[in-house]
């Protein structure tokens, strides 16, 4: 495992032009994230956190400033090069899971491998997808379609998809936004386990209690970093899960 910072933003600005209006969404953000960190990026809507996340996720390029990902300046790369960076170094988890419908969990997880540079055989694809699915607790559900899985299970498939190419950083955009509180805690549990294994996680959330599972919180307002602090009273998902009463029976009653 390499050490040092994996994400380094230097005075990043992002300006959108929508018609005549100029929106200055990110106004000079400098941020360093070390390998193995678990960062929650917080802020109200319009604070620029999503824009910043898009830049960190190489989906968008900064208008000015530099972005160094894994010791390489990615702010100068073109569309296809950014796509390759996303494929090799980043894993995405979305609020609404973004799984392909009518497609098995296995095939969803295989997706990033199909766009990778390594040519894998059908058997290799399958083996890799199945082992990652097993690591997020979905062994035995490889053939299920998203419609046959619960929200939490769908998000686990999405996490498996994010992990399948051994990324440097996992980026999660409101990963618990569409989940109930118990499933949210379960997903945070998975993130904490992954983080224990040394995987860097950057998560956008607006929920204080979800951010409390991270090690570090970065709060944004008006396109700038308002606050950046270590989480002192960090929640442990396993402990919290124990506190929650068996919620299944509550829902059914």
């Amino acid at each position: 495992m390499k050490n040092g910072e994996v994400v380094k933003l230097i005075d990043v600005h992002k300006t959108y032009h929508t018609g005549d209006v100029e929106v200055h969404a990110v106004r000079g953000v400098s941020l360093e994230i070390q390998r193995g960190e678990f960062v929650a990026l917080m802020g109200a809507s319009g604070s620029g956190k999503s824009t910043l996340m898009n830049i960190v996720g190489c989906l968008d390029r900064p208008t000015s400033g530099r972005y160094v990902l894994d010791d390489a300046d990615v702010s100068v790369l073109d569309r296809d090069q950014l796509a390759d960076i996303r494929n090799h170094k980043l894993g995405f988890v979305f609020q609404s899971f973004n799984l392909l419908p009518r497609t098995s969990a296995r095939e969803n997880v295989e997706l990033p491998l199909l766009y990778g540079t390594h040519r894998l055989t059908h058997a290799q694809l399958r083996e890799k997808a199945d082992s990652v699915l097993a690591s997020v607790g979905l062994a035995g559900r490889e053939g299920h379609h998203p419609s046959q899985l619960s929200g939490g299970q769908q998000q686990r498939v999405a996490i498996a998809r994010a992990l399948v190419n051994d990324p440097e950083v996992v980026l999660a955009d409101e990963p618990t936004g569409n989940l109930d509180s118990r499933t949210s805690v379960e997903i945070m549990g998975i993130f904490q386990q992954l983080n224990e294994r040394g995987i860097t996680i950057i998560m956008v959330t607006h929920e204080q209690d979800i951010a409390a599972y991270a090690r570090r919180n970065v709060v944004m307002r008006d396109g700038m970093i308002l606050n950046d602090f270590k989480v002192t009273q960090r929640l442990d998902a396993a402990t919290e899960l124990g506190k929650i009463a068996p919620i299944d029976s509550q829902i059914q009653s």
Partner: protein, 405 residues
């Protein structure tokens, strides 16, 4: 390159929407099947006409007697009686490439045998006629050159005439009365079917032209002369020689019109096949329109598909798909739909023509070239109509696409 995995991705996407894929391909299936069947019908008709023309004989030149004007009334071809037996002899003697000649006189009359009678056509011909027409006998023997020289009262009859007069009996050796002259039937001709003009070619009695002129038709002139050329490449030269020879024999001065007309088989064939060629093109074009409509169907579905799958496209881009991967994926989807549709359409088209042949008795001819052209065209339709939606998909912004509701 990652065409292999893109192909895999595209096929997975098609499998996910089986019903829609099948319905989209259906447009192409119908289009291609229509093209194959229609062109098959057109080609079949053309082949039939060509076969009928060929049944006139190989490398045949027909010389018709000219028209004449009597008291201001023109008689039309064959009416003038300008062709003499000696003209035919001269052609036989003086045109080197000639292989066979048959002097022809034609009449229609009532024929009778026993208590049966029938109105039919009488052809007077030389002994070479059946060879020129490539018209074998099913039974008996043809009349001979000796019969022609002696104007013997013998004849061969067609299948229709035979069945009308003799029913199931064997006509060979029987006596047929033609204008009260008894003719001995020496043979029965094989069935030739309808001519291009719809005339029953089997409703016929063929006898030596000498006998016909003397006992049935009367007169001393020929309606026409059938000439067969041995070598097909000589046909134009032979035609010119015949014209020159007849002009000389008929004392026609330079600048004056011929009193006869010469047609070769190719000219007759060209005229007859031109109609069916037009029909083939027409049918093919109409069917082609349905193929284009099928292509528009593909474009429509692909556009809907791109819109509906915007989030999917965003997800693919987020996990590393290049714009070109998305473009290729959608193009492959379109081309797969159209070419699979094309293959099924070819099978259906061949099936439809077989059904038409067997139930409607329309001759159909499926050529390999029409299959290849239909398949290439359907694949091209896929590329052409798939490109715009595919490019639209590839140009999507991943951020917008991911958020698309």
């Amino acid at each position: 390159m990652r065409v292999g995995s893109t192909l895999n991705i595209a096929l997975r996407a098609l499998r996910r929407n089986k019903m829609r894929s099948v319905l989209t391909a259906l447009g192409i299936i119908i289009g291609v099947a229509a093209v194959i069947a229609m062109v098959g019908i057109g080609n079949g008709a053309k082949a039939q006409v060509e076969a009928q023309i060929a049944s006139l004989g190989q490398n045949v030149i027909l010389i018709f007697s000219g028209s004449t004007t009597s008291s201001g009334i023109r008689t039309g071809w064959g009416g003038a009686g300008t062709l003499k037996i000696e003209d035919a002899e001269a052609i036989r003697r003086e045109v080197p490439s000639v292989a066979a000649v048959s002097e022809e006189v034609v009449s229609t009359t009532q024929v009778a045998a026993g208590n049966q009678n029938w109105f039919t056509r009488i052809y007077g011909e030389s002994a070479d006629y059946l060879d020129i027409r490539q018209w074998p006998l099913v039974d008996g023997a043809p009349f001979t050159a000796q019969d022609v020289r002696s104007a013997n009262k013998v004849c061969v009859i067609g299948r229709t005439t035979a069945s009308q007069i003799y029913g199931n009996d064997d006509p060979v050796g029987q006596i047929l009365r033609i204008k009260n002259v008894p003719f001995t039937i020496t043979g029965v001709l094989t069935q030739k079917g309808l001519s291009t003009q719809g005339v029953d070619q089997d409703d016929i009695v063929i006898m030596p032209y000498t006998s016909a002129m003397k006992r049935v038709v009367g007169g001393t002139t020929l309606r026409n002369i059938n000439v067969q050329i041995g070598d097909g490449r000589q046909i134009q030269a032979a035609q010119q020689q015949i014209i020159a020879l007849l002009r000389q024999r008929h004392n026609i001065r330079p600048g004056r019109d011929d009193d006869f007309t010469v047609r070769n088989q190719q000219e007759i064939a060209d005229a007859a096949t031109a109609t069916t060629a037009v029909m083939t093109v027409l049918l093919g074009s109409i069917a082609g329109v349905s193929l284009v409509v099928g292509g528009i169907g593909i474009m429509n579905i692909m556009l809907v598909s791109v819109t509906e799958r915007t989030r999917e496209i965003g997800t693919r881009m987020a996990v590393g798909a290049h714009g070109s991967d998305i473009l290729t994926q959608f193009l492959i989807e379109a081309v797969t739909l159209s070419s699979v549709g094309g293959v099924i359409g070819i099978i259906f088209g061949i099936g439809a023509s077989k059904i038409l042949s067997s139930y409607a008795h329309w001759p159909t001819l499926i050529s390999l070239s029409s299959i290849i052209v239909a398949f290439m065209f359907s694949a091209a339709v896929g590329i052409f109509f798939g490109f715009y939606p595919a490019r639209k998909a590839a140009a999507l912004d991943p951020i917008e696409a991911l958020r698309y509701e």
